[in-house]
């Protein structure tokens, strides 16, 4: 089951990377996530059951997520609706959108082609098909993100989140950056939703609940364990954080603790991770988060 957890860690890591784009770089929490994640799965699975190839169906899922993020962005920048509220509005609306697309709250992929079939057919040991799928997806996404953030455009994007006033005063259209950020990040989030739906074998309108916690957990565990590091390392840390989180959940299950209480254990783990810097300060130990000089 460790291999399975690692594979899951890769797939959920994509979610973490998506959330990172808005939560850490642009400095605001995006609630659209809990809608765009299941939306990616819903669109992807519906497409597959209608004869579309899994890869193309996954791309459709990504596009759907981008549309959702775009709407949130418009509500926020043009409608001047506070970003958390805008995200919640879109997230709630997506519930009906998904029902409309799937025509049922739960759509199964049993006996349908899936994107991991290529790997499954290689007859590897258990769960290695997902590990390979996840690893390749991660490498592609991280590569794209690295390319993006080191372009002039990407630098302006980072500046928007770092110091919006300064960004505007050097001519960056910060509203446009925010919309683009919301659009791209929700596309990435929907990608993870589509991959996980194919991994689980079904799409369900309820899959988004609690998903933000998992994404944040990956980001925060990565930061707490590895400290503030170069940009490339930050992205890798998120993926590692996601794997560690899945392994922690595995530990809880294996320890025989009643899985009824899985959610509160997850919250406790997350809270502890967030408090580790405080604890370390109190105990006067060095952490990677100390500002150098």
């Amino acid at each position: 089951m460790i291999i399975s957890a690692i594979g899951q860690g890769f797939l959920w890591g994509i979610l973490g990377l998506g959330i990172f784009m808005t939560y850490r770089i642009l400095n605001f929490p995006d609630m659209t996530t809990e809608g765009s994640f299941p939306l990616g799965g819903a669109v992807c699975v519906t497409a597959i059951t209608n004869g579309v190839s899994p890869i193309f169906a996954t791309l459709l899922g990504i596009v759907a997520g981008m549309c959702a993020g775009f709407i949130t962005g418009m509500l926020y920048t043009k409608g001047k609706i506070p970003v958390i509220l805008a995200g919640i509005l879109v997230m709630s609306g997506l519930n009906s959108v998904m029902l409309f697309i799937m025509q049922t709250p739960n759509l199964s992929l049993l006996k349908q082609p899936k994107i991991q079939d290529f790997f499954t057919n290689l007859n590897l040991p258990d769960h290695f098909d997902i590990v390979l799928l996840g690893l390749i997806a991660i490498i592609i996404i991280v590569g794209l993100l690295l390319f993006f953030f080191f372009t002039d455009f990407g630098q302006a994007y980072i500046a928007t989140g770092d110091n919006e006033n300064m960004a505007r005063s050097i001519g960056i259209n910060t509203d446009r950056m925010k919309v683009i950020g919301l659009t791209l990040s929700n596309g990435v989030i929907a990608l993870s939703g589509a991959l996980i739906a194919q991994n689980d074998g079904y799409a369900d309108i309820g899959k988004g609940v609690g998903v933000i916690v998992i994404g944040l957990a990956s980001i925060i565990i990565g930061e707490v364990l590895y400290g503030e590091v170069t940009f490339i390392e930050r992205l890798v840390a998120i993926v590692l954080g996601s794997i560690i989180y899945q392994l922690l959940i595995l530990v809880i299950i294996k320890a025989g603790l009643d899985t009824t209480y899985l959610k509160i254990f997850s919250s406790i783990i997350l809270a502890l991770c967030l408090m580790i810097p405080r604890l370390k300060e109190a105990l006067n130990l060095k952490t990677g988060l100390e500002k150098g000089e």
């Binding site: 089951m1 460790i2 291999i3 399975s4 690692i6 519930n95 029902l99 049922t104 709250p105 739960n106 199964s108 992929l109 049993l110 006996k111 349908q112 590897l124 040991p125 258990d126 290695f128 590990v131 689980d200 074998g201 079904y202 369900d204 309108i205 309820g206 899959k207 364990l225 590895y226 400290g227 590091v229 170069t230 490339i232 390392e233 890798v236 840390a237 590692l240 794997i243 959940i249 299950i253 899985t259 009824t260 899985l262 990677g288």
Partner: protein, 337 residues
């Protein structure tokens, strides 16, 4: 990349992945089939959510196994997991049951059966009380399932139910059907009911709720617009049934349900299927697989589409409804709670 922690973690990850990979490939080569022909076979039961009906089914399964000679602790080990209504838990629990080398798996309720089906296409799976196996994608042919899945298909006896309703409410012209949009079984049952009711000349009004929060309002609305209510087998409604009955009682409209428990709780009547018996049937089918008597691929799905009439006399009196003698003779009478 300079951070030692990150580099270290990546290396550890690679080591684990490559290590396990090599080990697994290696043990395949030597054909190390650690096939412990232990006396104790493992039966993995996965239940979707806690619910009187589902609980009864699970108890029935255990009795069914026992009837065929398989008792927990004696010659089988029963591993029971309850998903508590959480889809993602069902997946990890299915994995767990497989890890425990289950010889046969039993899924109680559609989401559980689906999760098991997604986790394995080899280990035999018995569906226990699934209302639409083909719709759920579990089997393609009820007579010849052809895979690793078979079991008991309890088709809610919609025709019988609507016949009974017609006799009980001969003057009714409109029926309100309430179901929750997050449960696929409910919608398919309502579709069947709608077809039948329309054929009978009734006007059908459908109301979908997205969560139990909507029940009070929708019930009020439905009671205003229709003569009686019809409720399918629906977990969301079952969990908030009291709220619904409060509203329907206020409006003095009867609620025709699909599950016997709900008649006790205030529904007026149903043609219900004994959940326990459904479980027993499933247990028996599981036992056959364990003993090698049958294989899922060639075992037709056991379709149970009939049931027993059940009425709540107290509720009928309360709402001023006279129960036709014909029905009183045949039906099982329960007292309200």
């Amino acid at each position: 990349m300079k951070n030692k922690g990150i580099i270290g973690s990546i290396i550890a990850l690679a080591v684990v992945l490559i290590g396990v990979f090599a080990y697994q490939m290696g043990s395949r080569q030597t054909g190390a089939a650690t096939d412990n022909k232990e006396e104790l076979k493992t039966v993995g039961i996965l239940q979707f959510i806690s619910h009187p009906s589902l609980d009864q089914i699970k108890d029935g399964v255990i009795k069914g196994l026992k009837d065929e000679g398989y008792e927990d602790g004696k010659n089988i080990k029963i591993e029971f997991l309850n998903g508590q209504g959480d889809q993602s838990k069902l997946n990890s629990m299915s994995q767990q049951l497989l890890e425990k080398n289950s010889d046969v798996l039993i899924g109680v309720a559609t989401p559980a059966a689906k999760a098991l089906a997604n986790a394995t296409s080899d280990t035999p799976i018995i569906m226990s009380a699934i209302s639409d196996p083909i719709g759920a994608g579990l089997v393609t042919d009820l007579k010849n399932p052809g895979g690793n899945i078979t079991g008991v298909n309890n088709l809610t006896p919609v025709d019988q139910q609507l016949d009974m309703a017609m006799e009980m409410f001969p003057e009714a012209k409109t029926v309100g059907m309430i179901y929750s949009s997050s449960e696929e079984n409910s919608k398919s049952q309502i579709d069947r009911a709608e077809k039948r009711a329309t054929k009978d000349g009734l006007t059908v009004k459908k109301y979908a709720i997205s969560s139990s929060n909507d029940i009070a309002q929708i019930t009020q609305q439905a009671c205003q617009e229709t003569d009686y209510l019809y409720i399918p087998q629906d977990n969301t409604i079952a969990s908030a049934f009291q709220t619904m009955i409060n509203e329907s009682d206020k409006a003095k409209k009867p609620v025709f349900v699909s599950v016997d428990n709900m008649v006790k709780e205030g529904g007026i009547a149903t043609v219900g299927q004994n959940q326990f018996e459904l479980g027993v049937e499933s247990g028996k089918m599981a036992a056959d697989v364990l003993s090698g008597k049958s294989k899922p691929a060639s075992t037709p799905v056991n379709v149970i589409d009939y049931g027993d009439m059940i009425i709540n006399e107290d509720k009928a009196k309360e709402l001023g409804i006279t129960i036709p003698e014909k029905i009183k003779e045949k039906a099982e009478v329960v007292k309200g709670e």
